[in-house]
Amino acid sequence: MKANEVILKAENISKQYRLGLVGTGTISHDLNRWWHQIRGKADPYLKVGESNDRGTKGGSQYVWALQDINFEVKRGEVLGIIGKNGAGKSTLLKILSKVTGPTTGEIKTRGRIASLLEVGTGFHGEMTGRENVYLNGAILGMTKKEISSKIDEIIEFSGCQRYIDTPVKRYSSGMTVRLAFAVAAFLEPEILVIDEVLAVGDAEFQKKAIGKMQDISRGEGRTVLFVSHNMNAVQSLCTRVIRLNNGKIVNQNGEAPDVAIENYLLENITEEVIKVDLPEFKVQIKNKHIIAYKEPIVFELNIQNNFKEDKQVFIDFAIVNKKEEFVLHHRMYAKNQSLNIKVGQQKIVINTQNPNITLGEYSVVLYIYDAFKKVLFWKENIAVFQIADLNKELSSIPFIKSHIIPEVQLKQV
């Protein structure tokens, strides 16, 4: 068993889907396809099809959810797969876990693949926790012997000892998830494919789950393919990251997590929402995309004033999290500060103190108006950045509900 050996190789993986209703015209297409097949010709519907871009309306009924995906994974690597919604991540996962076949191409592996697209697949409410552990384990590919040898550990890890011989339908949803994840955590395939199953359970359990995942990938040297939207989880778990966009790999050989996340964040900027953008008043923004926890947040504005006169302006900005909640909101007007923007080009640096903002991805809303409250510039999503635990100041990944992590001193008196 060589450490640097390629354990999984994907070659020209493509997946085609048919749009619209299944059922209309399928028989005629099926017959036509069959007619081509018996004459030894290629599938006539494989030639058509367009790349998968939700926004644009295409002419073809067929669409490529994945196109020419090639990648290799080495033994012991933790490969992250990131991309926007609809980029093809789930389709790739489904093909890797053999739930659906590729339209073209091959994936070759040197080990058993087990996939966790969901926890608790096949759980039956009428059966007891213990019976479900056996059933779920077997569905995930374990033999009865393997499960029997681990059952005590599984039950202990789940923390459901008291209920283990009670039907699962009497469990709370949290307990079901715990039990289900416990089974999955004790899977021992050579290659583990994981979807965002960690977005379940309470905070304590999530932390336990991520800790277990780190053990699996680091300590036990397992090969893991990890798909997630949670950039901090990707950053802390993965050794290499590939990015998908519209069904294609954007960075062919993958990138280090930091680089990949930065590029992924930049990709998102193209979705900026423009509210006001006057030709007389042009604004460009520059910022660092991965910012350490507690590090000051700095933006550099490049303003081009094409009006005939200087402008007295107020600059407001907000830092918005993934749930579109304002984490920080700065209003110069409220503080009675204003700035004189001369005709021509000008550079402004906004240096914001970082009040311990929680790890995560953020976007920026920028809003500039003059003394008469006339809006000169207004864009949402103009810049994006991630706050990451670069200096390892927080233990593991904190699941903190607040926007800001307070610094608390405890003193006994």
């Binding site: 659906t100 076949g101 058993r112 996939s115 033999t143 009865k144």
Partner: protein
């Protein structure tokens, strides 16, 4: 990189399925525990939270036989042969028909009923219909016990069953039971594969199975049908289920006659259906999640 040197020894390959039969028996064997656990799940969860529990296994064929005897033998006066109680005749037919029909309807919605599991995790899909056939086999075994009990009752405690004599061919009964299972499984797999695309079949199965029962000589002997409706008798005669049920009744009760050609006919049809079902099922298994 050392990919060149070791590029031959890939363990698994995921590719678009091209071969006609691409069954990995080794893999199915590796998942045998899952098969066992599925069967166990089906058995123990079926009658949970019912008062009568497994008694339902007995009640259903018993009551059907009673009704059939009342309607078809007492009211419609269909003869079941001298010295053979109609009730026993019907019970034999219903028990064997039930096994076939529960295999058929149980496997015919495999893909639709399991799309939740199938969409999330891979295991050899054939395990699911196989588990249906095995759990129904256990159910059939229990119902066979009911049949045997009534058989003993009629033979030893009444004088109505003086002609009901098991034949030596009864030694072949496990094979006949296998035919029922294979035929139901094969038929069910074909339907389940087609229903992923064409839902119409779901409706057809519902009443189709019921109609088929009337054409399978469950509540009448084939010879009587031939005598009364000779024009359409071929419809019943070439129905493999008729042959199977007649064989079952011959072996257990000694009604009708045994012919090797009939036995082979039932066998060939059942195995053919099973193989065709397997091929179609296998072809569907890779892509059904996109169409279901």
């Amino acid at each position: 990189m050392d990919t060149k040197a070791t590029s031959q020894d890939w363990l698994y390959t995921i590719s678009p399925k091209k071969k006609l039969i691409d069954l990995n028996f080794k893999e199915i064997w590796r998942y045998r525990d899952l098969l066992f656990l599925f069967v166990k799940r089906d058995i123990i969860t079926q009658y949970k939270q019912t008062v009568l529990g497994p008694l339902w296994y007995f009640i259903q064929p018993l009551f059907t036989s009673i009704i059939f005897t009342l309607i078809f033998n007492n009211l419609a006066a269909i003869p079941t042969g001298n010295g053979i109680p109609s009730f026993l005749f019907n019970l034999a037919g219903i028990t064997s028909w039930n096994y076939f029909s529960s295999c058929l309807s149980g496997t015919s919605d495999t893909f639709k009923a399991n799309q939740g599991i199938f969409g999330k995790v891979y295991f050899p899909r054939v395990i699911t219909p196989l588990s249906v056939v095995f759990s129904n086999l256990i159910k059939f075994g229990i119902q066979l016990l009911v049949f045997v009990s009534f058989y003993i009752y009629f033979v030893f405690f009444t004088d109505k069953a003086f002609n009901a004599v098991p034949q030596t061919a009864i030694l072949l009964i496990p094979i006949v039971i296998a035919f029922m299972g294979l035929f139901g499984l094969g038929f069910g797999m074909i339907i389940s594969s087609l229903t992923t695309k064409y839902r119409d079949l779901t409706f057809l199965v519902g009443f189709g199975v019921q109609l088929l029962m009337y054409a399978s000589a469950v509540m009448y002997p084939l010879s009587y049908f031939k005598e009364k409706v000779p024009d359409y008798a071929w419809l019943v005669e070439y129905n493999p289920m008729t042959t199977i049920i007649e064989l079952f009744r011959y072996m257990t009760l000694g009604i009708g006659e045994f012919s090797m050609s009939k036995f082979l006919y039932a066998g060939v049809i059942s195995v053919a259906f099973f193989l065709i079902g397997l091929v179609i099922f296998n072809k569907t298994e890779k892509t059904f999640i996109d169409t279901v």
